[in-house]
Subunit: 319 residues, 2 copies
């Protein structure tokens, strides 16, 4: 039998976990002191925090420790990128039952590290405590490198709406896991380890994006926040959504199983957790490779899809 975190104790766990964290030049003081010290050369720091709770945001039977580490890091690092900033560091709080295997926390650490490496960040500190509910609290920090932060309230009528990254694959992957299907593998992987396009956040900011966010609750719901904050309407065209043969195949498998909506567009519009970036740009902007124009900003309010107000997409954590 392997050891548990109860066997090695709080300080043993801290030593074991922090030994796995490589440091970077952005981390001036890493784990082991009262607090970390992280470079913030811009004179401002971007900071965001999210909690992942077992049973709500992941299931250990569907996602390994490494998957959970990737996902916990990704959803916070994507929030940093969505402000137009480059991620620098992560702080990680772990609340866990004493019988949790150290092999699982090792894998969690490796997943956090690997995802950080994709974004140019490093784990700079954290906390471990006992809890009956396995919970991971991640805070990500980032550097604007002199750029203005891209908020949600800057979209203007005439702007184009564009996305970068996959849409709907994570939601389809979750539906496949619920239905007991073992493929398409890319959709299962997208649910376990989203792949946000980190570098595109700063790039969109440099190109003059007027508003931006990462798609975490669903494209329609999240763009609804942009519409509300900016005092505009967002008009999406399903025909413009990026073609995705992997998602098409997943939807075909789900249809055969009698599980889930029949149209890929429904996953793309309502599915969250891929952590794609959605942004608005002035009409004259030449969109770079990787970005797809999916609609326009108009006078009005709310989000329309092919001219009609959509059925409310996404989901609320309490409602």
């Amino acid at each position: 039998m392997g050891s548990t975190i109860g066997d090695i104790g709080e300080f043993g766990l801290i030593a074991r976990v922090t030994a796995r964290f490589p440091q970077t030049e952005n981390v001036i003081i890493g784990p082991g002191d009262d607090a970390a010290v992280v470079r913030a050369a811009d004179g401002r720091v971007v900071a965001t925090t999210d909690l992942l709770v077992e049973g709500q945001h992941f299931r250990r039977e569907w996602s390994g420790g490494r998957d959970v580490g990737h996902k916990a890091a990704a959803q916070n690092l994507a929030d940093v990128a969505a402000m137009g900033a480059r991620p620098t560091a992560l702080l990680v709080g772990l609340a866990a039952p004493p019988d949790l295997a150290t092999a699982w926390t090792d894998a969690l650490s490796d997943g956090l590290n690997a995802e950080c490496a994709l974004a140019g960040a490093a784990v700079a500190g954290g906390d471990v405590v006992r809890s009956g509910t396995l919970t991971i609290a991640v805070t990500a920090l980032g550097d604007l490198e002199g750029r203005a932060p891209v908020r949600r309230d800057g979209a203007r009528p005439g702007d184009v709406v564009a996305v970068c990254g996959t849409l709907g694959r994570s939601a389809a992957g979750l539906a496949l896991l619920r239905a007991g299907a073992d493929g398409p593998a890319e959709c299962l992987a997208a649910h376990r380890r989203p792949r946000p396009p980190y570098a595109e956040g700063p790039r969109a900011a440099e190109l003059g994006a007027t508003a931006m966010l990462d798609v975490s609750d669903g494209l329609v719901q999240d763009l609804g926040h942009v519409a509300a904050a900016s005092g505009v309407s967002v008009a999406l065209r399903t025909g413009a959504l990026p073609a995705d043969p992997v998602l098409d195949e997943a939807v075909r498998v789900l249809a055969e199983l009698g599980a889930g909506p029949a149209r890929p567009a429904e996953y793309m519009l309502a599915g969250g957790e891929d952590h794609a970036l959605a942004a608005t740009f002035p009409a004259e902007t030449g969109l770079p490779t990787g970005w797809t124009e999916i609609g326009v900003v108009t006078e009005g309010d709310g989000v329309t899809v092919d001219g009609a107000a959509p059925v409310r997409g996404g989901w609320s954590h309490f409602g």
Copy 2:
């Protein structure tokens, strides 16, 4: 009956809570976007995170929402101060059951705000999710204002050891609550709402403190981290510990109830969570008002009390 957070939903709760957060000049972008933007004029940011779990770190029957907000903020803000930095902002993650009363989250917000105000900080962002276990994840940020961070590894033989803030009151308060006693009120208050001496962290850094930390697990255990990191021994004298008539009275009450150690010094040496600051200074340093010299740094390792190695104090979260 009052409303619950399940009644108002995730976005209702976010709107309700963030409406209670006053902003400060350090918060450039506050709650409501993908991430906060916080001033970090120094070009470095101090960052620390802690989790508080119901049943482990607080009990709702002993501490109100406002108390828990004060405590959650205080223990993180104290970590920032212990690096020699001035706190600027807090990020707060709340994982809670849907039947939690909005009156409780309102009180939590008010406690967070009030404690931030004592330290010059403000709540800049956060997250709310559903969980069966009430959990609060707090991240605090701070500004070094050009000072070098004060670490744990700089204590040198010949340095004096000093503390600022109360010692042992929180532990005595917890023992009183466990014993069902309703006083002394100052000790119950110290357990519910510790009062770290925030401004003394930057002041100690300016005075040339060679090592510093906040006392969270117990004075002997925490100074053991300084000894280990610095490669020195810390020699404490119980006769030098600051006199505290309030603690003396609490210990007298506890002795009458047959609960807890009989000597105030034991609470001062082993009790954590007052979040006093402990620091080492070059011998020639004139200690300011509020700091009490309690020992010296010598060659060797570990912590001694009146010349003897102490029974292991403090506690571990898993062991």
